[in-house]
């Protein structure tokens, strides 16, 4: 370290106290090092990543068309409320991916349908099989799926089937796409609004600050669910799904930006008096450069943490709206729409697997929350 020390000053600087390794580390590296120590957050991050990959590659991952009532070869009608068929890895021949075929029997007295294993009959599964045709993200057409039945036209239900005999597994995967992406896009809109309004409020202060803060307080004081309901009720029911989708996103994020605006304002206000910001002003930086080069980078990590914590709010909001029938409407599929199926007691008793979308919501929200907590702790590598 000191071999090329071209010190002209009379005093030699002792560089021995430089800590090895991390002195080159940027803020992001430090943040990552700290985040990695938070095991729960790290695991949650992988879960979240997995969920978003699932949402992105829904068509490829889903074995069946989520809209199609499934009929096996030669059957006349689809099997409603078919229970889940777990995947078996081995049979007597050794490793062989398969599910057991269940036979429908009807109790002659109560007329209750029960499904029992149909002897040794099974459906063999394999990877990269051809199934329904899809248009992948509008880019190209394909009919390859990650897995499916070896025998063409055979039907199986990993998560059971719904009232109309549609495959819940495929529907959950497709539902994740809507719900999770709505969380992201909603938060993106919130961030844009929150950053701009919070930034103006915090940097300039004074009357503008007063006005924006009163606006934020007003919006926060509104009871959210009735407002959402009112706004959603105004939406025309005959809009196509993607219109509905955008409208619901906008409605949710119109409320969501307030918290972010407060965070941004608070941080900016605190930072405006920081010595390094004054130093930057004395260096001759323009106002824009002070904000974007010196202040915002310090905020970025906090904003990311705030955003991660805001996504679950969005997901929950979407789920509750759709559950109440005021968000997305079928045929659009989201976890909230799927949960609407589980609204009556009969279907819960007959088909508890209709709750699987609810479990997915819980997993996604928890994972995002833990990850957000970890990010928030890691965002400031200098505090303990």
């Amino acid at each position: 370290m000191s071999d090329s020390n071209t010190s002209v000053a009379s005093v030699q600087v002792n560089m021995a106290n430089l800590r090895g390794g991390i002195e080159h580390a940027s803020q992001w590296t430090l943040m990552w090092l700290r985040f990695k120590k938070h095991k729960l957050a790290l695991i949650s991050m992988y879960i979240v990543l997995g969920l978003y990959i699932m949402a992105l590659f829904s068509e490829f991952l889903a074995p069946f068309d989520p809209e199609e009532a499934l009929k096996s070869n030669g059957e006349i009608k689809a099997k409603a409320y078919h229970p889940p068929q777990p995947i078996h890895l081995f049979d007597d021949k050794g490793f062989n991916l398969h599910v057991q075929i269940l036979k429908e029997t009807v109790d002659p007295v109560s007329l209750k349908k029960t499904y029992v294993p149909d002897g040794d009959r099974k459906i063999e599964l394999s990877f990269f099989v051809r199934g329904f045709e899809y248009n992948f993200l509008g880019l190209f057409k394909s009919d390859i799926h990650l897995f499916g039945a070896k025998e063409k036209g055979a039907v199986f239900y990993l998560f059971g089937s719904d009232r109309q005999g549609r495959d819940m597994f495929s529907r959950v995967i497709y539902g994740g796409r809507f719900t999770l992406s709505l969380g992201l896009i909603g938060v993106f809109l919130s961030v844009v609004l929150g950053l701009i309004l919070g930034g103006i409020s915090g940097y300039y202060g004074g009357k503008i600050d007063w006005f924006i803060q009163r606006l934020v307080e007003f919006i926060i004081s509104l009871p959210t669910i009735p407002i959402w309901l009112a706004m959603a009720a105004v939406l025309p029911k005959d809009w196509p799904p993607h219109y509905q989708y955008m409208a619901v996103t906008v409605i949710i994020s119109l409320i969501g930006w307030t918290q972010l605006a407060r965070v941004v304002r608070g941080r900016l206000l605190a930072m405006r008096g920081e010595v390094f910001v004054i130093a930057a002003q004395l260096d001759g930086c323009s106002e824009a450069r002070v904000i974007f080069r010196h202040m915002l980078p310090s905020l970025a990590s906090h904003i990311i943490a705030a955003v991660t914590l805001a996504i679950p709010m969005m997901i929950l909001a979407e789920t509750s709206l759709s559950f109440l029938g005021l968000g997305l409407q079928p045929p659009a599929i989201s976890w909230g729409v799927l949960l609407k199926e589980a609204q009556n007691i009969r279907s819960i008793a007959a088909a508890p697997w209709l709750f699987i979308p609810g479990a997915m919501v819980v997993i996604a929200v928890l994972a995002l929350n833990f990850m957000g907590d970890g990010l928030r702790d890691a965002a400031d590598p200098y505090t303990h």
């Binding site: 002209v8 009379s10 940027s26 390094f276 004395l282 260096d283 010196h294």
Partner: protein, 576 residues
């Protein structure tokens, strides 16, 4: 040591306090031994991170988690039975240790604001301490609390007892803390940097008070400090700590006049060095031309209006009151004063971080034209800011943690479009070399550097644009003593090479005497005296300056100044 063992109240042997476990454990206190004698003062002195505070806290068993006493003995001989108790063996939450804490051994801390509860009155807090350890009723406790406040020289104790912490000034709070510590007549008082956060005149008052109380109560005192001057004033015995080890331990005069260890000598020298003037030693010349002329500058903070617009919530506050000073080219001007005297406000007004209420600041630019900084527009200020730069007090807060050193130092060059690309890198390397930092530092982030190194980087940033005037606001006060003179020498070296002028704002008379040609003394927003540094520091005229100078601790145990200090009471409310 040839003292009778029964005179020893606390005998610490081979104390080790570690943070963490295993190989990675930080050995905050690593095998130290010392003794404190009844009624005497032991000063433990060391720089930040030397383990002196942890050592003191170990004695009370109040080391913060995850710190833990790893081994050694802390024998306390103050108990009624006369038998020794090994504090290190006691359970840190047990009954026995609680009987010793507060009752036998009391502690006062550096920052009295955070160690006093803001929601209870001072009286309540003292009474609680009395009621906890002594069998008296409430009225009796209150009477004693008032007596204690009177003992620590708080004016009008019967009224002051019902006030809250925030109604006390810094010095008053420290007095209240001392009163609380004395509530149960402790036999040992541990004082952890009790005067570091205080002004020099207040420090003198508190030191004198501790000394006086020690004599009348017969307490032993364990005094933790980094200031050799304070040590010289009050110590009977001295322990010098470095990196968790006790380098030297012995009677005060022995340490001061025949230090065994090189480091101790360095500590003492760094204080004595500041008793001299480097400017005269270097034989520096000051030109006749005025660089900066400050005329009648005032800064008034308007009073706050009440919620509905009435105007009685608070009166306007005059932070600066018609300040006029001159600065000549090549000169070092010191601005000295206590906290709240307006010296930092003045610095900020000169460079227009703050707008001034009235007055003019005439600056002669490099091209000869004269600019009034008080009225200049933003674009004009930008030109001035290329010539007038600032070095800040806190080396940790003044560097953006998200930028590399290269970016930080290069920023003024970049935004002023002086150079870019490889020319920029070369210039940054050149400036870093000037302050004694290697070019490799450019790629690193501020967190990789120590306080002293960061301050050098801050200076490099100021130098990047070839300035003519540098305003240094307490540029050395966040640094350890040995670093302090290094940085001052660096600035003086740079001045010789680069034809700079300095305005040094400081509360530290030693730093001012060492560094400056002329000094302006500020008190309550006004300049009360200006003159040559030697004159001000040697034979001040204004009574306030006299009080200020005489409150500065000496540097020899035989030269106890605080006892003979001059007290300034010319203004109401000055009684600490």
């Amino acid at each position: 040591m040839n003292t009778n063992s029964s005179d020893i109240i606390l005998d610490v042997r081979n104390l080790r306090t570690y943070f963490g476990t295993g190989e990675k454990a930080v050995r905050a206190v690593d095998d130290i031994s010392f003794q404190i004698q009844r009624g005497k003062t032991l000063c433990i002195v060391g720089e930040s991170g030397s383990g002196k505070t942890v050592a003191a806290r170990s004695v009370m068993q109040i080391v913060d988690h995850p710190g833990r006493i790893e081994g050694g003995q802390i024998m306390y001989y103050g108990g009624d039975s006369g038998q020794g108790v090994d504090i290190a063996k006691l359970d840190s939450r047990g009954k026995e240790i609680r009987g010793i804490r507060g009752k036998e051994i009391a502690m006062i801390f550096q920052e009295p604001m955070t160690s006093l509860s803001p929601i209870h009155t001072i009286g309540n807090q003292i009474c609680e301490s009395i009621l906890l350890h002594q069998k008296v009723d409430k009225d009796e406790a209150r009477a004693r609390a008032i007596e204690l406040l009177r003992r620590v020289e708080i004016p009008n104790p019967a009224v002051a007892i019902d006030k809250y912490t925030f109604e006390y000034s810094g010095g008053m709070r420290q007095r209240a803390m001392i009163a609380m510590a004395l509530a149960c007549n402790p036999k040992l008082l541990i004082a952890d940097e009790p005067t570091t956060a205080l002004d020099v005149t207040t420090q003198a008052e508190i030191l004198a008070l501790i000394k006086e109380l020690q004599n009348s109560y017969g307490m032993a005192v364990l005094f933790i400090t980094h200031d050799m001057g304070v040590v010289a004033e009050i110590a009977d015995e001295i322990g010098v700590m470095l990196n968790g080890k006790m380098l030297e331990f012995g009677p005060s005069e022995q340490i001061f006049y025949s230090a065994q260890h090189e480091y101790t000598g360095k500590l003492i020298d760094s204080v004595r060095k500041l008793e001299t003037s480097a400017r005269r030693a270097r034989n520096m010349k000051v030109s006749e031309r005025k660089l900066l002329e400050v005329r009648g500058v005032s800064k008034i903070y308007p009073g706050r209006k009440t919620f509905l617009g009435g105007n009685k919530a608070s009166a306007p506050f005059k932070a600066l009151d018609k300040v006029s000073i001159d600065l000549y080219e090549g000169e070092n001007l010191g601005i000295v004063g206590e906290s709240g005297s307006g010296k930092t406000t003045l610095g900020n007004c000169l460079i227009r971080v703050l707008n001034l209420t009235e007055g003019e600041v005439l600056y002669r630019m490099g091209n000869g034209s004269i600019v009034d900084l008080a009225k200049s527009k933003k674009s004009e200020l930008r030109h001035v800011h290329r010539e007038v730069r600032m070095v800040f007090q806190d080396p940790f807060a003044s560097l953006n943690p998200r930028m590399t050193i290269g970016q930080i130092v290069g920023e003024p060059l970049l935004v002023n479009k002086v150079c870019e690309g490889s020319a920029l890198r070369e210039r940054v390397a050149e400036v870093l070399a000037m302050v004694g930092m290697p070019a490799q530092a450019m790629e690193r982030y501020p967190h990789a550097f120590s306080g002293g190194q960061r301050q050098r980087i801050g200076i490099a940033r100021a130098l990047a644009l070839n300035p003519r005037l540098i305003i240094a606001d307490e540029a050395t006060s966040a640094l350890d003593v040995t670093l302090r003179s290094q940085i001052l020498d660096l600035l003086l070296d740079l001045q010789e090479r680069l034809n700079l002028s300095f305005i040094l704002i400081s509360h530290d008379i030693g730093v001012i005497r060492y560094f400056c040609d002329r000094v302006a003394v500020m008190y309550k927003g006004q300049v009360v005296e200006t003159g040559l540094a030697d004159k001000i520091c040697g034979e001040p005229e204004h009574p306030y300056t006299k009080a200020l100078i005489s409150a500065v601790p000496g540097t020899h145990p035989r030269d106890k100044r605080i006892v003979n200090r001059h007290r300034y009471t010319g203004d109401q409310g000055k009684a600490a």
